[in-house]
């Protein structure tokens, strides 16, 4: 049964990208465990506004785990203690009465803090712009089954396409590496015939952009895979290495 709990929150507050941040401690009383984590933050913000204080800034949008906007590093885990779920899918029944919850923003050189818990994840969009697309001639819609694709490839491409680009991979990585994201975005296209035409150019361009933006070098710790809310597999990273090395060797 869900019950009402009292919790202590340690929240990272930072006025701007260049300002020095610090933790602030807040007490919340009688939070029902059926409340979602973000709703709990809404309650806290309402409390802060009523006290005449600045509310905590955090990213959120769809609140159903598909948009990739929410972030938050909760008690040492990106997207909190739940597995295969985003922060917005996290509920207070994961926490106990009297518990102290530490909430931090993604910490990675590639994701500078904008304010409080909100970080700038535009770097991922830049990587996508570098090559995460297919160029197709417009015209009539092709027949659904005109291009045969094996079930195995279709499944792997679909699994890779589940990536919502939230940035938890780089946030979880001790090397600040974005390889899980880039590999998922390369794989979802490289596996399909429509994406094969530009596969070599795509792998080279996206890795070059990733390196340019200051993300780290992958050392295969698999922390990204374990923390990914969409369970993207590191076998995509092996595929990206393969695509990239083959593309460079062909040059």
């Amino acid at each position: 049964m869900d019950k009402d709990i009292n919790i202590t929150l340690k929240v990272w507050r930072q006025k701007g990208p260049k300002e020095k941040g610090q933790f602030e401690t807040y007490q919340l009383k009688n939070i029902n465990q059926s409340v979602s984590f973000l709703e709990m933050l809404d309650i806290l913000n309402e409390q802060l506004v009523n006290e005449g204080k600045e509310p905590i800034v955090f990213d959120h949008d769809c609140r159903e785990g598909i948009c990739g906007m929410c972030s938050l590093y909760v008690n040492g885990h990106p997207h909190g203690p739940a597995t295969g779920a985003t922060t917005c899918q996290l509920y207070m029944r994961r926490f106990n009465d009297g518990e102290t919850i530490t909430i931090e923003p993604w910490r990675s050189a590639g994701f500078p803090v904008i304010r409080d818990l909100m970080v700038d994840r535009y770097a991922y969009d830049k990587i996508i712009q570098a090559g995460g697309f297919v160029s197709v001639n417009t015209g009539g819609v092709p027949d659904a089954n005109a291009i045969p694709i094996s079930k195995a490839d279709a499944d792997l491409a679909m699994d890779a396409a589940a990536c919502i680009g939230c940035g938890a991979c780089a946030a979880a990585c001790k090397n600040g590496s974005a390889m899980l994201f880039v590999s998922a975005k390369v794989s979802q296209l490289a596996l399909l015939p429509q994406g094969k035409v530009e596969a070599a150019r795509r792998a080279k361009a996206m890795v070059a952009k990733m390196d340019e933006l200051g993300f780290g070098n992958c050392t295969n710790t698999r922390a990204c895979e374990m923390e990914c809310p969409k369970n993207i597999s590191v076998s995509n990273i092996a595929r990206l290495n393969r695509e990239y090395i083959c593309a460079k060797l062909k040059d």
Binding site: Y73, F111, G214
Partner: protein, 238 residues
């Protein structure tokens, strides 16, 4: 040059130099097995690997492999720390499924290399290096021996010497952790992996690391107890 500039290129250098060092370990452990059965045969191997040009050339290639692997370990670690940003997480937990070794490869590597320096000072410096310096005899605990007499070195350092034996066993333990991650990670960086092979490579890594380190450890313990040729008694020619 993509091999030197790109993140995947740098990782590839790390991977190939690592696999090269793994091959060397296989060679080294096979050489040690010889010494368990026959001191004379082991001295033959040492003679063959003395200051002959091919042995010196091989040593230079091996040294290059070591140096590249170490330099890139530091380059990659420094770049990765920079990529992590200035602020560190106040609370961080190692997620389930992440091996401890995988996050501590640099520390494990430093431990391995420190013991390797001890090992080089005990053997290589007094064997190949002494010979290259033109010495045909080296002093070992008051007795003059040929730098090609590997069996005399083993007996001198290991037989009945518990401190050196334990130090070597600690070395193998660090090496075991380093290899359990390093082996499959190198294969993964080469791109030779998928969802099916992932767990297989991890398993092969563990088996490989265990076999290599266990054989090294067993041989070291035999040397401690019985010295060179201690693996057999009456049937072998010592």
């Amino acid at each position: 040059m993509w091999l030197l500039n790109s993140s995947i290129g740098k990782k590839l250098i790390m991977s190939i130099s690592g696999l090269f060092l793994i091959l060397f370990l296989v060679f080294h452990v096979s050489m040690n097995v010889v010494a368990v059965f026959s001191g004379a045969a082991y001295d033959m191997v040492c003679g063959f690997l003395g200051s002959n040009w091919y042995a010196v050339a091989g040593t230079l290639v091996l040294a290059a492999g070591f140096i590249i692997h170490i330099i890139y370990a530091f380059i990659l670690t420094m770049e990765n720390r920079k990529a992590r940003g200035n602020d560190r997480y106040a609370v961080s937990a190692r997620p389930k499924g992440v091996e401890w070794a995988s996050q501590n490869m640099l520390v494990l590597g430093i431990i391995v290399i420190l013991f390797a320096i001890l090992h080089f000072s005990q053997f290589w410096y007094k064997m190949m290096f002494a010979e290259l310096m033109g010495n045909h005899e080296v002093m070992l605990g008051g007795a003059a021996v040929s730098p090609q007499s590997g069996s005399a070195f083993i007996d001198y350092y290991f037989k009945g010497n518990i401190v050196i034996t334990v130090l070597y066993l600690v070395w193998y333990a660090a090496l075991w952790f380093h290899l359990t991650h390093g082996f499959w990670s190198a294969i993964h960086t080469l791109g030779w992996n998928n969802t099916v092979w992932m767990s297989r490579w991890e398993c092969i890594s563990k088996i490989f690391a265990t076999v290599i380190c266990a054989v090294f450890a067993i041989i070291t313990i035999i040397f401690y107890l019985n010295g060179v040729g201690g693996g057999c008694s009456a049937t072998c020619v010592h």
